[in-house]
Symmetry: C2
Subunit: 472 residues, 2 copies
């Protein structure tokens, strides 16, 4: 793609190059049009690097400039003759550097770029720039500058981790035969009858004020589950991964108005354990991928920002406990009684009680669960085939259930709540080749909070939206 | 994940198995927990298959049932003794079949399942079911049943193609060093000042009617471009792939209220050709992937539904023509004059004129383009560094431009349109380490229309939303 005489490399690729990572892996990551001869020629290669200045140290004999381009946490050290210095070469400025890649004598880095030419592309006045050289800003401070925070080490790391985790989730499902479905954002059903919905309308006045744009009231989705269930009528395994919305008037560190959900649905499944196995597997595989690809980025969070830290990689032995009939739940939380929903403090207690590790809780009281949850018919306690995954520091990470596939039971339940007309299409799914199935959803930001130990959910999403805040 | 004695396979994996695809590829696609011994043992394997009945043929000696599970277009043929027949075994019913996998003598298939047991899991009354056995329904007819249309061959194929194309887009960007950014759906900026926005508000009454939930008016995004530009201040290459929205009151076959956009932004880029190269590369790589993985699915569209068909794979030699100064544009379209925007009919003429192949059109009149477009300063004609990719049957598929990175020019333009306060954060991006950059967006549904030859955009998205329609 680039036609300059000197090849252009990202900082990450320069690091990798000297670390002798295999040719194949290199080709997958580096900018295209690298010739094998150049890859194999070792140091001495002419290179052209672009990025943003992270530090400038002017010494008598040498000028040292660290350049970062977002491709990894490390910066590339530029070594130059002092006469290449420029008053515009400041922290935060954008530069292009041409030079020769050499083996570095410094133990901190394998390679450095001996500069022939440094060009300041974009100035940055250090007095005005909100981030200061060599200062570790708090996440609260960084959050105030949504348009510039990618420039900090912490948020740069977060974005790389988020990207790799996203990729790992998609890879996990693809490798396990799940079809990816783009479930809709705009929907005319309010899923669980939850009250906290956003309604949408065109911002310009309609011809007729009474008429809705879609002819019916339309909302932002709170879950893609029902749409995935539609697809489970023809695909054995489906998933979706996209934004969902809650109009929750909360400033809490646990809630966003717009957040990402991973949701999956599996057909021909009769046991809650089929679901917990997918949840556990996805959790582990995604986390392993992130720890492999972003070790330094994760380490930055664990070292400087984590409140709760999960045990070492591959040490997540997930437990399954039952919410029914009572112990260990009610024995653990004296305030909690059978038939009551778990509160955040109960969830926390449970996680701690089980050794501060992820815990599945199954078989919730039937009457607490939405109409689509499968009835266990285990009178007199009467539970539903539902499961939650609780994790340290976060609480509920995943929620799932088997779905009621039996037409007569489902119809009776919908009639009871007066929704049989609204959900006639949903009843149709049980009339034409219905199958036992189930699924779950995972809050993606909560997942990131969990593996990184980040306290505030606003720090793990590029552009947080919550009540009274919609910056940019 | 599955603990039944007989292993469970998807129909696709059974087909693949006998087609002797390599072990590595097989392992990536098939359900987990397949043992190598089973993979290598050839026919004679005991298997357990679940899916939906696509046909039932009862003959004197044998019962033939075709079972499809959505994993591929082909169905698996079940051969059973006539006494395994069941009145509930009808077109559309859901079944579980246990049997022995055998080499098939029929030339249409490599393998068939000799059934030991057939269990109808979910009935389907053929009189009520809207799709009829062995009938090719039109896309218009299928569209009326959004909750059941996945059961048709056409829509099943579309969903598989859409999934593979989505995967290919993500793979392309990952392999080329682009960071994936989740740009927000809810935004307080209206991007280009376009009028056709959806506004959002909580559906429940607020405490104060005057107060917005977000303290400012909030809209559904029309583009993630400006948010990507934010990230281009710290990552050299970024992209996003998600839903975007237009409140266009149109029933046309070309518009949706909710559609998917692929958008990319590249830093340190000074030429429009850097962008056209990414667009072309992404288009070709994605299309090659889809044609490789979904050959039969694509063929179904080309055979039965395509109006316009693109030339054979690898035959897309994209042309670049300039909209400035005049020819071939104004000579081609007598109604079009320099300085006027291209209308759909002009686009169509251009594509045809160039041999019914994709065409890039560059350097549009400056005053037609939004404030962020880079000024070419080529007076007197005065163009902007913008580019569109036009394709047969669809018209505009991609639009992109270099962005104005020069603070003084950008500020002057924003002052001219009175938006300098609204976009003070955008000006900040040019104050702190600004770099030359550019990007583009591609309508994902239009891309699918283009490669499949599908006339109506509503047929290439799982749940179409447009004015007066928001089903499910």
């Amino acid at each position: 793609m680039f036609r300059t005489a000197a090849q252009r490399f990202s900082v990450a690729s320069l690091h990798r190059r000297v670390l002798l990572i295999t040719l194949r892996r290199f080709c997958n990551k580096a900018p295209r049009k690298l010739r094998v001869a150049e890859l194999l020629s070792g140091t001495g290669l002419e290179a052209n690097v672009q990025g943003w200045v992270r530090s400038v140290r002017s010494q008598k004999a040498n000028l040292f400039v660290d350049v970062n381009d977002g491709s990894c946490l490390q910066s590339l050290q530029i070594v130059a003759s002092p006469e290449l210095n420029d008053p515009l070469l400041t922290f935060g400025s954008a530069v292009e550097v041409r030079g020769i890649l050499k083996k570095s004598l410094h133990p901190k880095q394998a390679v450095e770029l001996e500069a022939e030419h440094i060009h300041v592309v974009g100035e940055c006045n250090p007095l005005d720039f909100p981030f200061k050289i060599k200062e570790r800003h708090t996440l609260e401070y960084i959050r105030q500058f949504p348009h510039l925070r990618g420039r900090t080490n912490a948020f740069g790391s977060l974005l790389r981790i988020r990207g790799e985790a996203t990729w790992a989730v998609h890879s996990y499902f693809k490798e396990n035969g799940f079809a990816h479905i783009h479930t809709p954002i705009i929907t005319s059903n309010d899923c669980e009858g939850a009250g906290e919905l956003f309604q949408i309308e065109p911002s310009y006045p309609q011809n007729s004020q009474d008429e809705n744009f879609f002819s019916v009231p339309a909302y932002l989705t709170v879950s893609g589950q029902l749409h995935l269930e539609v697809m489970t009528g023809s695909f054995s395994r489906v998933y979706t991964f996209g934004p969902t919305f809650r109009a929750e008037n909360s400033q809490s560190r646990r809630h966003l108005a717009e957040f990402y959900m991973v949701e999956a649905e599996v057909a021909f499944t009769r046991s809650i354990e089929d679901l917990t196995e997918v949840m556990e597997d996805m959790f582990k595989r995604t986390t392993e991928h992130v720890l492999d690809r972003c070790a330094r980025d994760v380490d930055l969070f664990h070292t400087h920002y984590a409140d709760v830290r999960l045990p070492h990689k591959r040490a997540y032995d997930l437990l399954i406990i039952s919410a029914a009939p009572a112990p260990p739940l009610t024995s653990a939380c004296s305030a909690s009684q059978w038939g009551c929903d778990l509160k955040t403090e109960h969830e926390k207690y449970l996680v701690k009680h089980c050794g501060t590790r992820p815990v599945f809780v199954t078989d919730y009281p039937y009457r607490l669960k939405p109409f689509y949850t499968r009835d266990n018919r285990d009178y007199p306690q009467h539970t539903a085939a539902a499961v939650d995954l609780l994790v340290p520091g976060v609480g509920e990470l995943c929620g799932g259930s088997l779905r009621e596939e039996r037409l007569d039971l489902l119809r009776a339940r919908l009639e009871e709540v007066g929704l049989e007309d609204t959900y006639s299409w949903y009843l149709d799914l049980r009339r034409f080749g219905s199958v036992p199935h189930g699924g779950f959803g995972m809050g993606f930001e909560r997942y990131l909070q969990c593996i990184l130990g980040v306290d505030n959910i606003k720090d793990v999403i590029p552009f947080p939206r919550f009540s009274h805040s919609c910056l940019l």
